[in-house]
């Protein structure tokens, strides 16, 4: 703290990012808990029974408290029923469907979260997951609806093409950054629109990808059966092999980042590009490669979306995955296990949202919870950066307590 003047101003954004990501599991966990608390407040204050009871709070406070408790309990038990286990179901197959839905929604979130996380670790903000996903999905759809190949080969080719297409689309950003210095945030955002435009054009033009015998809607055919990701647990669940691909992606990410030479370069550039350059690393090339690999992970999400479908697809096939992926990467501190867990959590939110809506909760509640989780994670370093406050002292009560636990037994 004594020589703050010497800190290079150029890397302030980078430093904030690094600090956000270095929060660790404790901060992530506490943020999730706080997010749920805020969600509970929203449920209470949007609950009609509570608002009615609150008008005579002084006369009969128990009514308000009971209504508040009911609102929270109903809301979160609906989330549980919709995302993990439906205890109200008649048979066991139906009861477990929510869990499979959570995994199905988690697949693309994990995959694209890994892509964003990888870019974060290199010090890049890849805001372009939605565009990369759309571009990958476009070519996956091309292979799966316009090319016929034997069973097995078809799926593999379609998946590889999607991953390569997404990687290539992201690599363009890396190329522009390396060659011209164009900022990747601007370029990735712009390229989201370009991809959406291209996909819509392909989906609405009959000679390209528009549904054969379709109306005028921009919509593709369903992927050929040979190119569909098979159901993982039989026909009673829509969970497909895309989730397994995402898990494979988690291991691949871990290996790349923690074990490979390429990952070592990524991390070095992420820590300090100037030092990396001095050490002989070609930073520009690393940016390009990192964006390509980031895009490849997003391509796995494209495979999930485009080949996991059983019906024709519309141009909004990316849903909100592209931006949810950023929150997944942040919550997961850009580590492989973190992204896996964050993806599962956000998948559960998606799976549970319908059940929450059915009992009359606003569909925005889970979005609010997600938003607050990320806010709680990212806010402290951001606020410090904006007001140029000094970083917190290392020894806090919790940290001391934690260290005392860890060092018990003579470990130094």
């Amino acid at each position: 703290m004594n020589n703050a003047v010497e800190t290079p101003v150029v890397n302030r954004g980078n430093a904030v990012l690094k600090e956000i990501l270095s929060g660790g599991a404790t901060r992530a966990l506490l943020s999730v808990v706080l997010g749920f608390v805020v969600g509970a407040l929203f449920m209470v204050f949007s609950n009609e029974a509570f608002l009615t009871a609150a008008q005579y709070f002084t006369a009969r406070p128990a009514d308000s408290l009971a209504a508040a408790w009911t609102a929270i309990a109903d809301g979160y038990s609906a989330l549980f029923r919709g995302s993990i286990y439906n205890y109200a179901a008649d048979d066991i197959v139906v009861a477990f469907r929510p869990l499979t839905e959570t995994l199905r929604f988690a697949g693309p979130l994990i995959a694209s979260g890994l892509g964003i996380a990888l870019a974060f670790r290199v010090g890049l903000f890849n805001i372009g997951a939605s565009g990369q996903l759309l571009f990958g999905a476009l070519w996956a759809t091309w292979i799966s609806t316009r090319v016929s190949l034997p069973w097995g080969v078809h799926l593999v080719v379609a998946a590889l093409v999607a991953i390569l297409a997404s990687a290539a689309y992201a690599a363009v950003v890396g190329f522009l950054k390396a060659r011209t210095g164009a900022h990747e945030v601007i370029v990735t955002i712009m390229m989201n629109y370009i991809a959406a435009g291209i996909l819509t054009y392909f989906f609405r033009t009959p000679e390209l990808l528009r549904e054969v015998d379709g109306g005028g809607t921009p919509k593709s055919d369903a992927p050929a059966e040979t190119a569909q990701l098979p159901y993982l647990l039989g026909d009673q669940y829509t969970l497909h092999w895309g989730f397994i691909l995402a898990i494979v992606g988690v291991f691949a990410y871990w290996w790349i980042m923690e074990r490979s030479t390429m990952g070592y370069r990524f991390r070095m550039v992420g820590h300090n590009p100037d030092a990396a350059r001095t050490a002989g690393i070609n930073v520009e090339r690393t940016f390009m490669i990192a964006m390509a690999v980031s895009g490849a992970f997003v391509g796995l999400a494209a495979v999930n979306q485009a080949l996991g479908a059983r019906a024709g697809m519309t141009p909004d096939i990316d849903g909100t995955i592209g931006f949810d992926a950023i929150t997944v990467a942040l919550l997961g501190s850009s580590t492989a296990p973190g992204v896996l867990l964050a993806g599962l959590l956000f998948g559960a939110f998606k799976a549970g949202a319908p059940a929450m809506q059915v009992i009359g909760l606003s569909p925005e509640i889970t979005g609010v919870v997600q938003g607050f989780i990320v806010l709680f994670i990212a806010a402290p370093p951001l606020v410090r950066a904006i007001f140029r406050l000094p970083p917190p002292q290392k020894s806090t009560v919790v940290a001391d307590w934690w260290r005392s636990l860890v060092t018990k037994g003579g470990r130094k």
């Binding site: 709070f57 006369a59 519309t314 909004d316 319908p354 809506q357 059915v358 009992i359």
Partner: protein, 357 residues
């Protein structure tokens, strides 16, 4: 630091406690009795992308559901879809909730609702603007919107000073172009009746080419650009078929300085959105509220069996109609035009006039 935070929390707690005490001193209610006897029937609905309060077709269906709840005493559940990924899970949530009837709103849900209906043959589904691929437990609600749009087109041509009228759609899908085609032939009919050249910009039923926004985003920049382009081409009455595009069209009219009008869709826009009333000539109503309420009433109260037969809203059964005419300033007297419209309506109902050319 710590002191400030804890003081802030105390302040916040005091403030909220004060709020509760100040606002919470009404007397506690003693007993409650519902206005309508509750019946054991659960009516459910899943929206297309967009909210229940879109001032357009999602909202029309939702109002039917609310009406059924208020007047028939049925229970209801609903879910909004934010993306196409939500369609199937939302429908599944209704199945899990054991809904007696589930209404899927919009053409976009047609694949999802057909799949869900086939997977749950003992439950009943309704698709608004969609169709059944063969499931008998799926009832389509469709509308002959060309009929009321034909009348709207005729009125638009009568109103227009330039004798150029415009129409554009959200997406080029049958549920949208049906309006536009009716509008086109209605406007042409006025031209024939009065031996005047009338031009329709934005849609040509013969070549199936026209102006489309590409989505149903309310009042997008694209929408305004299309409206402005049609005004530039001389149009002074515009019929935007894409949910709430009335903000975009009214802005385009105001900015161009022409004495323009617009024609509402789905609901009586002059009544539903008074902020646009000063530009509204009439609206081509698609009365989904009525259809939804009737179907719930038939199965929940009247004891009729649910069938997969198509419900088709027409001028004859009142499923579609023209709203009251406002802001008319055409050369012909309004009474004459209204008499002619009544004549055309009778012709459409008895089949002597084909609104599709």
């Amino acid at each position: 630091m710590k002191n400030i935070t804890s003081r802030a929390w105390t302040g916040l707690a005091l403030a909220s406690a004060a709020t509760v005490i100040l606002t919470g001193c009404a007397a506690a209610p003693t007993d409650t009795a519902g206005p309508v006897a509750q019946i054991d029937y659960l009516a459910c609905a899943v929206s297309d992308e967009g909210s229940w309060h879109d001032k357009s077709f999602n909202q029309s269906v939702y109002e039917g559901l609310v009406k059924a709840k208020d007047e028939l005493g049925v229970q209801t559940a609903d879910a909004e879809s934010a993306t196409p990924d939500d369609f199937a899970p939302n429908l599944q949530a209704m199945v899990d909730q054991k809904c007696d009837i589930t209404i899927a709103v919009g053409f976009n849900l047609v694949d999802a609702v057909n799949a869900t209906a086939e997977a749950n043959p003992d439950m009943n589904f309704v698709t608004v603007d969609g169709w059944s691929n063969g499931a008998t437990n799926l009832k389509p609600i469709n509308y002959a919107m060309n009929q009321s749009s034909y009348l709207a087109g005729y009125l638009a041509a009568a109103q227009s000073a330039s004798k150029v009228v415009g129409t554009y759609g959200g997406m080029q899908i049958p549920a949208v172009t049906d309006f536009m085609t009716g509008f086109y032939y209605g406007a042409m009919q006025w031209g024939m009746d009065n031996a005047t050249d009338v031009k329709v910009v934005g849609w040509d039923p013969a070549s199936e080419k026209g102006d489309f926004i590409g989505d149903f985003t309310p009042n997008s920049g694209t929408s305004k650009t299309i409206a402005a382009g049609q005004i530039e081409a001389g149009a002074d009455v515009i019929f935007p078929v894409g949910g709430d595009q009335f903000g975009a069209v009214s802005e385009a009219i105001t900015e161009s300085g022409v004495d323009g009008r617009m024609i509402g869709v789905d609901k009586d826009i002059a009544a539903a959105s008074p902020e646009y009333a000063q530009w509204i000539l009439t609206s081509a109503e698609k009365r989904m509220t009525l259809a939804v309420f009737d179907i719930i009433k038939q199965t929940a109260v009247d004891g009729q069996a649910f069938t997969g037969d198509v419900y088709l809203g027409t001028l004859e059964n009142g499923g579609t109609a023209l709203s009251p005419i406002t802001n008319y300033s055409g050369a012909q007297a309004q009474a004459d035009v209204e008499a002619k419209l009544a004549e055309l309506q009778a012709g459409i109902i008895d089949g002597s006039i084909n609104p599709l050319g």
